[in-house]
């Protein structure tokens, strides 16, 4: 009896918090049939925003995957002073508000008054109000997701298989490619999907660093806000629906593909 009550509570909770609101976004996106969707897909500025969002997300995910796996290996396989501090630092992006991240990045990389920005600008490299800044902000907020997925898997797998590979003649690169990577594969994939979803949806930090220039640095999430504030609810819902669709599709695909015994 208690079991069913608990289940019902969880289902109701998820329904009212996640499923129902998401469904309503979809419903509103299709309120006029396909008009809203075709409307935004025919607007070159919005198509640019969607393309920019996907580009930024893909670059950010690649960077976060490479560094994420590297940092995870460092955290699990090596002992060094300050390891706990590093581990705690890695949670900062999750706990600090993205808008703070955005402001912080402007302080460092801002073209006119930033600590590091003017030097970069003189070298012909603009960060803030440009694509690199958007990538930087996105990388920052999604940084811990790969690490938090990979670290527990690495810990569980242990290092005996790696030692066995070394004793059989494999060097560090061969050991990583043939033994470590296949054993943490699902952790990495899940981390990639989570950071992809997070990167597509980043709003606060991007809003501060991008400058929100239509057709240049405006991303999909910024389009949603803009349209919503300008009473173009149909367009806002349609864009929001596309964003949610990609993220949810990624997560569902992976949970179906992921082998059950892997957890």
């Amino acid at each position: 009896m208690a079991k069913y009550a608990l289940r019902l509570t969880v289902i109701a909770y998820l329904f009212f918090l996640v499923a129902w609101p998401l469904y309503l976004v979809g419903k509103n996106a299709f309120a006029n049939g396909l008009d809203n969707i075709t409307g935004i897909l025919e607007d070159p500025d919005i198509v640019h925003a969607l393309t920019l969002t996907v580009q930024v997300a893909v670059i950010a995910v690649i960077i976060n995957t490479v560094f994420g796996v590297g940092i995870s290996l460092l955290l699990v396989r090596y002992e060094f002073p300050g390891k706990r501090l590093l581990s705690a630092m890695l949670d900062v992006p999750l706990s600090v508000s993205p808008i703070v991240v955005g402001l912080a990045l402007v302080l460092v990389y801002g073209g006119r008054n930033g600590w590091f920005g003017p030097a970069l600008e003189n070298a012909g490299f603009q960060v803030i109000f440009s694509t690199p800044g958007i990538v930087l902000a996105t990388v920052f907020v999604a940084l811990p997701l790969v690490i938090r997925e990979v670290v527990p898997v690495l810990e569980e797998v242990g290092d005996e298989q790696e030692q066995a590979a070394r004793s059989l003649g494999a060097n560090a690169v061969q050991t990583f490619r043939r033994i470590t990577l296949p054993s943490i594969k699902w952790g990495v994939i899940y981390g990639v999907v989570l950071s992809l979803a997070r990167s597509l949806g980043e709003f606060g930090a991007v809003k501060v660093v991008s400058g929100n220039v239509l057709g240049q640095t405006r991303t999909a999430t910024l389009v949603v806000e803009e349209k919503y504030l300008n009473f173009d609810k149909g367009g806002a819902y349609a864009t929001a629906f596309l964003l949610a669709l990609v993220a949810v599709a990624c997560i569902i695909t992976v949970s179906i593909l992921r082998p059950k015994e892997d957890r």
Binding site: S167, L168, A170
Partner: protein
């Protein structure tokens, strides 16, 4: 000499794992590193393999100074207590791993893998994953994998430690027979003295980071260098100030002679073919083991007055540490 270890020291924090250890391990033999847990024997094995580094001292493998070599350049085969099977690879691919790394031709790899799988009786499981094998089968696979690269030395770290008693005994016999066929210099770590005495040609007793004694099983059992080795290699009892094996003591009834100590039987326990008699000599309790016939011919029971003496020509007698 195949493996020369000279003045090796290793510390983990404040804990001294190896204290100036020097050992020579002979070629082509099966050598056991025997000692209690935490005594440093696994650390020594891992230093030979290059999986740990010594703080000082040198390791030489077949005349080659390996002290600074990374594990993949030492050409050693290593077998882990918990198998360290590559979980995502089939049994055949596990065995082939070292050969694939060495970029051997495919035909050669296939042939060699089949040969090894026959040797460890796993040919019919070639395409299974390690998770579909029993513990004993996994360990045989790990052994085949280590042998595939034709290592100069084969190192086994408590290879049977994770297996149940019956499988352990079988694998032990099998390892001995395998070694008689393959003849690769083999070093294995164990804390089980029976395993070492049964399988090894040569035993190195290690305790608290130091080598206590090196010798053949007979030498160690019959001429232990000190009371630690004596106690570690088999059952021990104390008669007066002497340490003796319980089966080297004789019981007699009737007339007291000069070398015997008299006492009273306090307890009789039968363990299969062996009878264990505890005799109280007043200030100490001496354990004597007899076989069934010896016991019956004495005709004694609990409470009987008996004489205890050390059997003549007993080699293993050590003065008890004060």
């Amino acid at each position: 000499m195949s493996i020369e270890i000279k003045n090796v020291n290793k510390r983990f924090g404040d804990f001294v794992a190896l204290d100036n250890v020097s050992v020579s391990i002979p070629s082509g033999q099966l050598t056991a590193l025997l000692g209690p847990s935490g005594g440093g024997k696994s650390t020594l094995l891992r230093i030979i393999a290059g999986l740990e580094s010594a703080e000082s001292g040198t390791v030489e493998i077949e005349g080659l100074n390996a002290t600074k070599l990374p594990p993949q350049k030492r050409n050693v085969g290593f077998v882990f207590q918990h198998y360290a099977a590559f979980k995502h690879l089939s049994v055949a691919r596990n065995v082939a791993f070292g050969l694939e790394i060495r970029k051997r031709p495919k035909d050669e790899i296939r042939e060699r893998v089949n040969e090894l799988l026959d040797l460890v009786h796993l040919r019919q499981f070639a395409d299974r994953l390690p998770s579909q094998l029993s513990g004993g089968q996994r360990q045989r696979m790990a052994l085949a994998r280590a042998l595939a690269v034709q290592p100069t030395v084969l190192l086994l770290d408590e290879p049977f430690g994770a297996l149940d008693a019956k499988v352990r005994k079988e694998l032990r016999d099998w390892l001995r027979r395998l070694h008689d066929e393959v003849h690769v210099t083999t070093v294995f770590v164990t804390h089980d003295q029976e395993e070492a005495l049964e399988v090894a040609d040569e035993i190195v007793v290690i305790n608290e980071g130091r080598v206590e004694q090196i010798g053949s099983p007979d030498e160690l059992y019959d001429q232990p260098a000190n009371d630690f080795v004596m106690k570690f290699l088999g059952p021990v009892t104390q008669l007066g100030d002497r340490l003796v094996r319980p089966h080297d003591l004789h019981l007699q009834v009737g007339e007291r002679d000069a070398e015997a100590v008299s006492g009273r039987v306090t307890r009789v326990t039968r363990i299969g073919f062996e009878i264990r008699v505890e005799v109280s000599t007043g200030d100490q309790v001496v354990t004597v083991t007899l076989n069934r016939n010896e016991f019956l011919s004495l005709g004694i029971g609990t409470g009987a007055e008996v004489q205890v003496r050390v059997a003549p020509d007993v080699p293993a007698v050590v003065r008890a540490a004060a």
